[in-house]
């Protein structure tokens, strides 16, 4: 039956709702489009309202359907985007590495998300921080990787990655990392429900190193 199953999936995939947040112009829509259709439009529009796309992703042999919500980045459109935070499984906090301001605003985005997403208190939510536009020239960079990692550590976010929607670097990885991160937290939550232990789970899957930074570091 093995190869038979290979021809088509048996069960319905897990649907994960992913919200991409960040200042206007950091490349949220581009990230989404790169991930979903592997396309990059130099001249893409700024997003008005919300848009979303679906994409399947395979992690550890399981297939997940990501429902990726792309929102308008301007602060003023808050009322429009916040209703969509509810029920999210993953939140991607995005900034552009050549835009310090967008990096500073991560805090605002995180707070806004936590406030409106109705996340239970004391529950660690799977955030992932994404520094987009890693393709820019070194002299245009305004946010260093160290700064990103520091901020993540301060905010207890254990996943971060620098990507480029333009040259497709790390985009797939970013979404994969996000799902893995979600999985980890999900497993942890399950475990906590049974018994609170501080034993180390040796069976836990270590994510590959390609995700650049904190994942392994803060996993301990």
């Amino acid at each position: 039956m093995g190869s038979r199953v290979n021809m088509r999936p048996t069960s319905k995939n897990t649907l994960l709702k992913v919200v991409i947040l960040g200042d206007g112009g950091v490349g949220k829509s581009c990230l989404m489009n790169r991930f979903v259709s592997n396309q990059f439009d130099e001249h893409s529009f700024h997003t008005i309202g919300v848009e979303f796309l679906n994409k399947d992703i395979e992690i550890d042999g399981e297939t997940y359907t990501l429902q990726i919500w792309d929102t308008a980045g301007q602060e003023r459109f808050k009322t429009l985007r916040t209703p969509f935070y509810r029920g999210s499984d993953i939140c991607m906090l995005t900034y552009a590495i050549d835009d310090k301001h967008s990096f500073r605003n991560l805090q605002m985005w995180k707070n806004e998300f936590l406030y409106y997403a109705d996340v239970k208190e004391n529950v660690q939510f799977p955030f992932i921080v994404i520094g987009n536009k890693s393709d820019v020239e070194a002299n245009e960079r305004e946010v260093s990787q160290v700064e990103m990692e520091t901020w993540c550590n301060e905010n207890a976010i254990s996943a971060c990655i620098e990507t480029s929607a333009k040259n497709a670097s790390n985009v797939q990885e970013a979404f994969a990392t996000a799902v893995q991160h979600w999985l980890r937290l999900e497993n942890r939550a399950d475990k906590n429900e049974c018994l609170y232990t501080d034993t180390v789970d040796l069976t836990k899957k270590q994510s590959e190193n390609r995700t650049s930074c904190c994942i392994n570091a803060s996993d301990e």
Partner: protein, 983 residues
């Protein structure tokens, strides 16, 4: 076949493979993966199969019976490791499917791929199975390589594979595709459940067999019609469609022939003819038609849309249940504390139907009570479900069936027939004919209604449930029927009145009461018409101008002249001379404003440069920690502010400033200074000094002269200022922007012309922030449209900045650029665009987040849909949250600008502007409605929920047929006007 022909044929075969390889490779590049069931994979396999079959020595190899190439594979498996792997896999798959022993690639070409009584709930094996598998397993090239090198064994001399050139070409062609990753994550299942908008439109086109451009089909919007019965339109459609599946799914909805009495999702049934061991979830529904009750159960797999091709889903059609209740004699109920209960229907022949397992939550009881009501008056449940013995009005179900724990777990009902009395029958028929008359509104009809709305079931149990045997007095029955009929007629009438009053109170404001005739206006304003309208440069007949625009639009070349009228910039009756003066004024004012903000922009830019320099310096200092850091940067690090101009660097570190790093924590204003402006700079300096001295209001702003040419004097001033500033740092007050108030007469756009304004920190921040946003968005605005070259984007930016400068309280909001863009393309004139944009924004600004028009739009949309398309309304209602109408947000915010291509945007906008004077000042609502109605059948037949609709319309952007949508929108306005007028 001659040698030539032979060669040509081989060439064609190879060319076909080449083409398909290219296709697959392209797909992999654009999508990053190729789906296993992609059409291009199948075509590639077909092409390969054709090559391999050609010249195969069938007879010599004993391969005449089955598919030759599959057999060939098995044959060479002995010698080739790669072939062995694939051969094994093929056998495994074939064996797991007893129905098809020798699935062969070429056979499955001609045979229908689906058998009705499939034993496995899975698809038939795909075509070209072994080639497919070999491709996915990346072995195909090697296998063919083996065949090519051993061609003499298996192929005729002149076979393609045996050909010295073609053979190696074939195997090397397939190296590429064998290197790809094939994904199965997106299966046709997903394709069907999560199809792109294109696919949906396509499917719709296929399924609606009538009229060529289906999206433009008139929706059912006629109010009276929807009062009487449900969509007649869609019924006629249904009869024309040949698609059983579609029909079936649609038959599950409420329609005019059948009333839906009960519907419940995820009811478990184990189909008799199914090969599955577990009961499957499905949708259970109870329908009432003129001839009686029908119970239907449909597997969930079929509930999302329908298929018009033979798909693997089709096997589920066999599982679907359809039971006519008049064939049923007994209803067995089994109560179980674990589940919600099970119902087994037993027929007249004593045969049991598959058990129906209800989920928890009283659904079984609800189902039974719907049956009981549905049976009336011709039949009934015996014993009655509802205990009539209680004297109080509240009916109580039989204790056994309330989901509380009870000793009696099982119950059997008999379906008894009341219709022994012919009179009752007759009466019923009589009633039926009467019943068709009173209008009823489907809108307010709850779908599981047990009320008196449908044509045959109608008796409320309280009065009529014949508890006693059929020997009841006929007279009593007749009386109660009379009452029923009268009360139904009354309620129908009442509902109708309420409905109309809703229409009138809520919607009358949406359209103008006067209906303007569109006769002869369908050509719009042509050049000839315009010459008639505009005599000696004066336009007087504005009503006619609006009318023509509304019904027919404006010729493109005239838009430049006419739009300012429509937007209210030019006044009707104005002379050419007056308009020229106006334009001149507009231009002057525009340039003045521009010079004001350009000055501020210069300051903002300078600050930005420094901030950025700081950030970069900080970064580089991080990376080269330990190395020598230039003093300049060191200082920047210590106080994170835009202190010194980087251009200072060549003049060496400024000692004086280094002395006071703390001071510079205060916000600093800096003027960009070009050498040529030294004098003016100095003037600012002086003036500002005076300000500081005269006003005790001292800001925390200090002025920095980047230019050493201003000499020590300036520095000295600054020093003083700094001290003052230090002392007063608690004061947050800002210097008045006095420079702004005075009129700047110069048209020079140099920053220096802005009267040396001193700008408050707050102003700088605000405008700076806006500037950044504008910049970001302008760069992203319509870059794909020919007009927007760098030069013209600058114009767009100027207009935008000018607007924001003049309306700082509103500020820049995303979407404004989109509104400026079409105006700019038409006018190609900054000041005129600006003026018209201001007029446009008077209406549009309310749509932006700080206004409240959007909520009104949504509320109005809701009412309109409720009135004009009840079916759609029901769908939206059933998916609770999508009544928020978020999917219309962008439509309203940008007047559909992003939904349409540029030429259509022009045409749409001018109609919107003209509409308020002709038909409706809320024309956008009707446009939105028209857009929704254009795709209503797709939305309905796919049961789209909130997210589906958002996705659908996002994908459909710029692909609508604007002319059709516009004309539908005009029709809708007219319909509502008639509805309101027709009292």
């Amino acid at each position: 076949m001659s040698l030539n022909n032979e060669n040509e044929y081989k060439g064609r075969l190879i060319a076909a493979v080449k083409k398909e390889v290219k296709q697959v490779m392209e797909e992999s590049v654009t999508r990053k993966f190729v789906h296993e069931e992609s059409g291009s994979v199948t075509s590639l396999c077909a092409a390969v199969e054709a090559c391999l079959s050609q010249g195969l020595r069938r007879r010599a190899l004993g391969l005449f019976k089955t598919s030759s190439t599959t057999a060939l594979l098995h044959k060479i498996a002995k010698h080739s490791r790669e072939a062995a792997i694939i051969s094994k896999k093929v056998q495994e798959i074939e064996n797991s499917d007893p129905n098809r022993r020798s699935s062969s690639s070429s056979e499955s070409l001609t045979k229908p791929t689906l058998k009705k009584n499939h034993s496995l709930p899975s698809t038939p094996l795909p075509k070209y199975l072994w080639i497919r598998l070999a491709l996915f397993e990346k072995q195909l090239a090697k296998i063919i390589d083996y065949l090519v090198s051993n061609a003499n064994k298996y192929y005729d001399k002149d076979a393609l594979v045996a050909d010295p050139d073609y053979g190696s070409i074939l195997s090397s062609l397939l190296v590429g595709p064998c290197a790809l990753d094939y994904s199965r994550t997106k299966t046709p299942d997903h394709f069907w459940t999560d199809p792109p908008a294109d696919e949906l439109v396509q499917r719709h086109r296929i399924s609606s067999s009538h009229s060529t451009p289906p999206p433009v089909r008139r929706p059912i919007l006629n109010f009276r019609r929807s009062l009487n019965a449900s969509s007649e339109d869609s019924i006629t459609n249904r009869t024309t469609t040949q698609h059983l599946a579609k029909d079936y799914v649609e038959s599950l909805h409420q329609n005019s022939r059948a009333t839906l009495l009960f519907g419940k999702n995820n009811v478990l049934v184990l189909p008799v003819n199914a090969d599955v061991s577990q009961p499957m979830p499905g949708y259970l529904s109870l329908h009432q038609t003129a001839s009686g009750l029908t119970i239907k159960w449909t597997p969930n797999q079929l509930m999302n849309g329908f298929t018009d091709e033979v798909q693997d889903k089709s096997v589920f059609w066999d599982y679907a249940l359809q039971v006519r209740l008049d064939e049923i004699v007994y209803v067995h109920c089994h109560q179980d504390s674990e589940t919600g209960g099970t119902v087994i229907l037993v027929g007249q022949d004593g045969v049991q139907r598959p058990p129906i397992h209800f989920p928890k939550g009283g659904h079984m009881l609800a189902f039974l009570s719907c049956i009981e009501t549905g049976l009336l008056p011709r039949g009934r449940l015996d014993p009655p479900l509802w205990s009539q013995r209680c004297s109080n009005k509240r009916r109580r179900p039989l204790p056994a069936l309330s989901e509380t724990e009870e000793t009696t777990k099982d119950y059997v009902f008999r379906i008894a027939d009341n219709t022994t009395h012919k009179d009752i029958l007759k009466q019923n028929e009589l009633m039926d004919t009467h019943i068709a008359l009173p209008p009823k509104s489907r809108v307010q009809l709850p779908s599981t209604s047990t009320s008196s709305e449908s044509s045959t079931k109608s008796f409320s149990i309280d009065q009529n449930a014949p508890d006693s045997p059929p020997s009841i007095c006929i007279q009593a029955v007749c009386d109660s029927m009379k009452r029923q009929i009268i009360s139904r007629a009354f309620y129908g009438w009442l509902a109708y009145c309420r409905h109309l009053s809703t229409v009138r109170t809520h919607l009358s404001g949406l359209v103008n009461s006067k209906i303007v005739n569109g006769e002869g206006a369908s050509d719009g304003i042509t050049v000839e018409k315009w010459n008639e309208l505009c005599t000696d440069g004066v336009v007087t007949d504005h009503a006619e101008l609006y009318r023509l625009t509304y019904f027919g639009g404006i010729a493109h070349d005239l838009r430049k002249d006419l739009w300012p009228y429509l937007l209210g910039h030019y006044k009707f009756g104005s002379t050419t001379q007056q308009r020229m003066e106006l334009s001149e004024e507009t231009k002057q004012a525009y340039e003045n404003t521009m010079s004001e903000w350009l000055a501020v922009e210069a300051i903002v830019r300078q600050r930005d440069k420094e901030t950025q320099a700081n950030a970069i310096a900080k970064l580089s200092s991080e990376s080269m920690s330990g190395e020598q850091v230039p003093a300049q940067i060191q200082r920047d690090l210590s106080n994170e502010v835009f202190e010194d101009n980087i251009s200072d660097e060549d003049s060496g570190p400024n000692v004086e400033e280094e002395d006071k790093p703390e001071r510079t924590r205060q916000n600093t204003i800096k003027y960009d200074s070009d050498p040529e402006q030294d004098e003016k700079e100095e003037r600012y300096q002086q003036q500002q000094l005076k300000d500081f001295i005269h006003n005790v209001i001292v800001t925390n702003a200090s002025v920095d002269m980047g230019n050493l040419g201003s000499e020590i004097e300036a520095n000295g001033h600054r020093n003083d200022l700094d001290v003052v500033a230090e002392e007063n740092s608690s004061l947050d007050t800002c210097i008045e922007t006095h420079g702004l108030a005075s009129p700047a007469m110069s048209t020079c756009v140099s920053p220096a012309s802005s009267n040396g304004g001193v700008y408050s920190q707050e102003l700088l921040e605000t405008f700076g922030l806006n500037l950044h946003r504008i910049e970001k968005d302008v760069q992203r605005c319509d870059r794909n449209y020919w007009y927007f070259t760098v030069e013209n984007l600058d114009k767009l930016r100027n207009v935008m900045c000018t607007y924001v400068w003049e309306h700082l309280d509103i500020g820049y909001m995303q979407g404004m650029c989109d509104l400026v863009a079409p105006l700019l393309v038409i006018f190609n004139d900054e000041s005129l665009t600006y003026a018209c944009f201001c007029h446009l924004m008077e209406r549009m600004v309310e749509n932006f987040p700080n206004g409240n028009a959007m909520d009104c739009h949504f509320a109005n949309m809701r009412s309109l849909i409720q009135i004009l398309d009840s079916e759609m309304y029901e769908l939206m209602h059933s998916h609770g949250d999508y009544t928020h109408f978020y999917f219309c947000y962008r439509w309203f915010l940008l007047d559909f600008k992003r939904e349409l291509v540029y030429p259509d945007v022009y045409a749409t906008w001018e109609v919107i502007w003209a509409a308020q004077h002709v038909a409706s000042s809320h024309f956008v609502l009707f446009l939105a409605l028209a857009l929704l109605e254009t795709y209503r059948d797709i939305i309905l037949s796919n049961c789209m929920d909130f997210t589906d609709i958002i996705k659908f319309f996002n994908e459909m952007a710029e692909r609508h047929n604007a002319a059709a949508v516009l004309s539908l929108a005009r029709d809708l306005v007219l319909q509502l006007q008639l509805l309101i007028e027709n009292k």
